[in-house]
């Protein structure tokens, strides 16, 4: 996964020599992160055979399974996002971060990562159940991630501009709301998915 991020960033680095505008820098970063999330989380439920699922089913509550998966995926996404931020700034330059409110930017990256993870965990479970993994995952997941993506891109853009907390806090509030509602929904709906 890290290899994917590094190579994606490197391709961007080769493609755009010289400086990037603030808006482009931000957009490119989130596009890389979006596809990294899809790649990483598609495998969340795909790799399991029926036997192991049956074993888990007899052993624990399905709600624990989805919650554990979501937390694990969230963790993976946070680590992945922060690492890609590191590689990204190393290769593409940190000029845009000079005026940025770094705390806000990192917060938006973390919330965005958790949001991607929470939406895509349930979608990956649905896609795996439908038995037509990767293509279906993209079709089902993309429109649901889009609202999150638009909000988080705006929040991080404001953070890069160095806007005060009083302005950006509504966006972070919105992101937390989206994350919480998504995880709650996954927690409620997953048992029905698991039942046969």
């Amino acid at each position: 996964m890290l290899l994917y991020v590094v190579s994606a960033v490197y391709v961007c680095y080769l493609a755009v020599k010289g400086g990037l505008g603030l808006a482009t820098w931000n957009a490119l970063f989130w596009i890389i992160l979006l596809f990294a999330a899809f790649n990483a989380l598609t495998r969340s439920f795909q790799r399991e055979d029926a036997g192991r699922q049956l074993y888990l089913y007899t052993l624990v509550d399905p709600r624990s399974v989805i919650l554990a998966r979501a937390i694990y995926n969230g963790g993976v996404m946070v680590v992945l996002s922060l690492l890609s931020l590191l590689v990204y700034t190393l290769l593409l330059g940190a000029d845009v971060l000079v005026e940025a409110d770094l705390g806000q930017f990192v917060l938006s990256v973390v919330l965005g990562g958790i949001g991607f993870a929470s939406v895509l965990t349930l979608i990956s479970a649905i896609a795996a159940r439908a038995g037509n993994g990767i293509g279906l995952m993209a079709i089902l997941g993309f429109p649901l991630v889009l609202p999150l993506l638009l909000t988080v891109m705006r929040a991080s853009k404001l953070a890069l501009d160095g806007v005060a907390w009083s302005v950006t806090s509504t966006y972070f509030g919105g992101l937390v709301l989206l994350d919480v509602i998504t995880i709650t929904q996954a927690w409620i709906l997953f048992p029905y998915l698991w039942r046969d």
């Binding site: 649905i126 609202p147 638009l150 919105g174 929904q185």
Partner: protein
Amino acid sequence: MALLLWNEPTAAMRNWWKFLGIGLLLFASIAGLRIPLAPALVHVSPDRIAPGPVDVYVTGYNSSFGNDVKVRLVNEGDAVCASSVAVLDGTHLTARFDVPAGFKANLTDVEVDGLTYRGALFTEGLGSGIVEEQCPGVLDMQNSSAQEVGFAFPNRSILYESIRNLHFHVPMWFTMIVLMGISVFQSIKVLGSNSLDRDLAAEMAVRIGLVFCVLGLITGALWARATWGAFWTNDVKLNGAAVTGLIYVAYLVLRGSVQDAHKRARLAAIYNIFAFVLLVLFLFVVPRLNAIDSLHPGNGGNSGFSDLDLDDRLRVIFYPAVLGWILLGAWMYDLRVRAARLETTMDR
């Protein structure tokens, strides 16, 4: 409503809402297309004036300029009447003014009888005001009823005749949301009961809802072209419409890729509920965050239609139109569900 409960109602009660829907639609469509716009001034040339004699050419819309028409310039409380007016026809006239020096504001309004074109003329401002000459008949101008044509839609610059689209474009989205709501309701029931019949109903509601989504996009694109100059703009509401379309197309793709009927019912229901909640968040919460850059009325400092003067003239048609389209959507959905049920019965 009976169609949610699936009990067979008595024959007398069964169809009243269909007739109501058709009646409302007929009323709203005919009235929405036939009612004229209120008269207004739409063009004034030249667009700047300097002190001295000047001929101003005024174009009206749906107006009826008579030979006794009163024309004047208004600049921050100062008024100048036309020295002579030549009426060409009901919508065109030329007025000659002796423009005095000393107007205070940069923009001058043109008034013809009761109608005003605000900021019609760019003026050399910064003067100290003029001595107002009272011209004959000007006092009557404020309450002149010469231009009243009875019930008419507001005539707004930029919108003009396209204001009628309010009665077609907006009800499409209302109807779509109602149908998607029905679909989610059925999906929740699917999870509780594993009923394939409810699954069928959920699918048909989505299919009919998508029809209204497409109609909303088409009417919206035409309206956007007429008022904003482009068929598609990067606007939160347009993004919302695009995401809605994608979500429900994805829902149908998901249905198409699962063979087993019970499994399909369950997966589709889960996706439907999950997507609908996120969609509601996206349509009604995220625009509040991004409200600054929407072109839609009621967002980002734009006035909503309810702020329009005399908006009641629109409401009288708009609410029946919304209810009529929703009832039509419900009827289409009802027919599709019944047809699909017959098909499944015949397959067995």
